[in-house]
């Protein structure tokens, strides 16, 4: 991983929300995300995951530290519009209602994403569809690693290749829906289908950073792994980094190359997924893993954690 430049990096982020008393939500967080990887950011409610996502997208201004996107600082959104280059960072939220406009047909919303990509491409004198800003097209090696098959062929078994790649109908097919669905409104789709549409809309903008903030938490258990898998597959086939935020480790573990475990505003453990999963070093990570009930029929109650004071320990970093 070293020697390569990160696509996006958080450097010593501190975030404080005003209030009585103020909430110190993020307390010195740094990490780098590299092209072609899926990184899981996990931790329990209130630990600061969404705040990090909002700082990465410029929605929240850090009190200290900064976010670097292709080596340039991400400008927090003031009153002005989002700088065009920063639309290469896209997000999918927990509630599909926040990612999709309920009053517009889904095809038009995917078209918005396509328009953004085209606009950014014109600005940089490049054809859209050629891959994210300033990057070569997707690296098939990365794709294979996660999905075991070449990208596009695996994505939609029924894909009508007659549709242009950059059309809403084609995007719907890539997420397993039909081109004809583009005139339907979000409410006429199930939760899982809406999250797939939100993923299509985000990816149509050809991001090289896709952030999913609890994108599967509102879905039925049997749908969660499917949507997570689809997101990671599509993001990688586009050459984007996927930062997958979740409070539920059991699915994340299956798609992430690396994990960042957060507790009380800090990253307390990080490293390759299997290393963290099979050999957790920080007391909080141990408790978090021990509390996940396994659907194995054994009738084992999850371990009840000790008091939070026990989690005050230095961060654990596993070698890559």
């Amino acid at each position: 991983m070293s020697g390569r430049a990160p696509v996006i990096a958080a450097r010593d982020l501190e975030v404080t929300y005003p209030g009585h008393p103020p909430v110190h939500a993020v307390r010195g967080v740094s990490f780098e995300l590299f092209r072609g990887e899926v990184v899981g950011l996990v931790g329990e409610s209130g630990c600061g995951k969404s705040t990090i996502a909002k700082v990465l997208t410029g929605l929240v201004r850090p009190a200290a530290g900064e976010v670097e996107y292709h080596g340039r600082p991400v400008r927090p959104l003031g009153v002005g519009r989002r700088p065009l280059a920063q639309t290469g960072i896209q997000m999918v939220f927990q509630d599909p209602g926040s990612s999709l406009n309920p009053r517009r047909p889904v095809g038009a919303q995917i078209q918005d994403g396509l328009d953004l990509a085209a606009k950014r491409a014109r600005r940089s004198g490049r054809r859209s569809g050629a891959g994210p800003v300033g990057e070569p097209p997707a690296d098939p090696a990365n794709v294979r690693r996660v999905i075991g098959q070449p990208a596009d062929a695996a994505v939609s078994p029924t894909a009508a290749r007659l549709l242009p790649a950059g059309s809403p109908g084609r995007w719907l097919e890539r997420v397993g829906l039909e081109a004809a669905d583009q005139s339907r409104y979000p409410r006429s789709f199930s939760g899982g289908q809406r999250q797939r549409i939100a993923t299509a809309r985000a990816l149509a903008a050809e991001p090289d950073v896709l952030i999913g903030d609890e994108p599967i938490s509102a879905l039925d258990a049997s749908t969660q792994a499917k949507v997570a898998y689809l997101m990671s597959r599509l993001a990688l086939s586009q050459g984007a980094v996927l930062l997958f935020i979740s409070h539920d480790l059991s699915v994340v573990r299956l798609i992430a190359d690396r994990l960042l475990v957060m507790w009380a505003g800090r990253i307390v453990e990080s490293g390759p997924t299997e290393a963290v999963w099979s050999n957790p070093g920080h007391p909080y990570t141990k408790v978090l893993l021990g509390a996940i009930p396994a659907p194995d029929g054994a009738g084992r109650l999850p371990l009840v954690p000790p008091s939070a004071a026990a989690f005050d320990a230095p961060p654990v970093i596993h070698a890559p």
């Binding site: 258990a221 792994a225 509390a291 009738g299 109650l301």
Partner: protein, 293 residues
């Protein structure tokens, strides 16, 4: 064998609407024995919550119900009006996913507990207070009288759920219906609430109908597991059997898409064999989506 604490027998329910009767529950039968946790699992919209609500007579308006709900020889479906109020709380307690549904935000915890106890048990203030403090003790929310004078928002989510359980059990009902009682909680907090419910079952001989969509949680607390689909119980059996040798194709399908289940997703390689477009999940509008009750 003694009769189960709660027997749901051939329960069917439809909701009368403008275009006729929408079937919701179809011939649901379940026994919940003393000292036993009967789990009820299934995807969103399958009818789990409606099943629980019907037991305590809180089914949706315009419901048409047939079947029997037996407790101690009484058919609860035949009980109406104020007699039904007496059943709720004193014979069957219920807790919901969102403790906000069971707790009144503007009333002190103590008042909620004592009101409940005095309504059902017709005891004096002093005895109600004693019972309230004991009920809180039992669920591990300490602090005694001090706790009684605090409001629900002054407690954490896990403590609020414990308090909701304390209220549900304050009048010593034989049966507790727990509808997704830990779904809104963090896993570490969930662990404590699951341990509490299990210990109440084991120590008091409580009969619990435990509703959840989370098969991991089900595997941890339930003795018997029923799987519901489209208002029907497709499989009901011993926990270990349902998880390790599921009899119904639908149960196998559910387990196959779960991380950590037998035949489920155990590694990244396993992902390659699932259909990411979720065959089945799009099979009905609104299926596959979780929603608050």
């Amino acid at each position: 064998m003694t009769a189960p604490a709660l027997r749901i027998e051939s329960l069917s329910l439809g909701i009368r609407g403008e275009d006729g009767l929408t079937p919701i529950l179809d011939q649901v039968s379940l026994d919940v024995g003393r000292g036993e946790v009967q789990g009820l699992a299934g995807e969103s919209g399958s009818g789990k919550t409606i099943t629980g609500l019907t037991v305590i007579g809180l089914e949706p308006a315009k419901s048409e119900v047939t079947g029997h709900i037996w407790m101690d020889g009484d058919d609860l479906l035949k009980i109406t009006g104020s007699a039904l109020n007496a059943v709720r709380g004193s014979r069957v307690g219920m807790v919901f996913q969102d403790p906000g549904t069971s707790l009144h935000p503007q009333l002190k915890v103590g008042a909620q507990l004592t009101d409940h106890v005095r309504y059902h048990l017709k005891v004096g203030k002093g005895e109600a207070l004693d019972r309230a403090a004991a009920a809180l003790d039992r669920v591990g929310v300490g602090g005694g009288r001090d706790t009684l004078s605090r409001y629900p928002h002054e407690f954490s989510g896990g403590q609020r759920q414990r308090i909701a359980i304390a209220i549900a059990l304050a009048c010593d009902p034989a049966v507790l219906i727990a509808d997704e009682p830990t779904t809104a909680l963090d896993v570490t907090v969930q662990a404590g609430v699951l341990a509490l419910i299990r210990s109440l079952v084991d120590s008091l001989g409580l009969a619990v109908l435990f509703i959840t969509h989370d098969l991991g949680v089900m595997s941890a607390v339930a003795d018997r597991v029923a799987i519901m689909r489209h208002g029907r119980i497709v499989e009901n059996g011993d926990r270990r059997q349902v998880f390790t040798a599921p009899a119904h194709a639908y149960t196998r399908e559910l387990l196959a898409s779960l991380p950590g289940a037998a035949g489920g997703l155990r590694s990244r390689e396993d992902l390659a064999r699932i259909d990411p477009f979720g065959a089945g999940e799009g099979s009905g509008e609104g299926q596959g989506e979780r929603s608050a009750p």
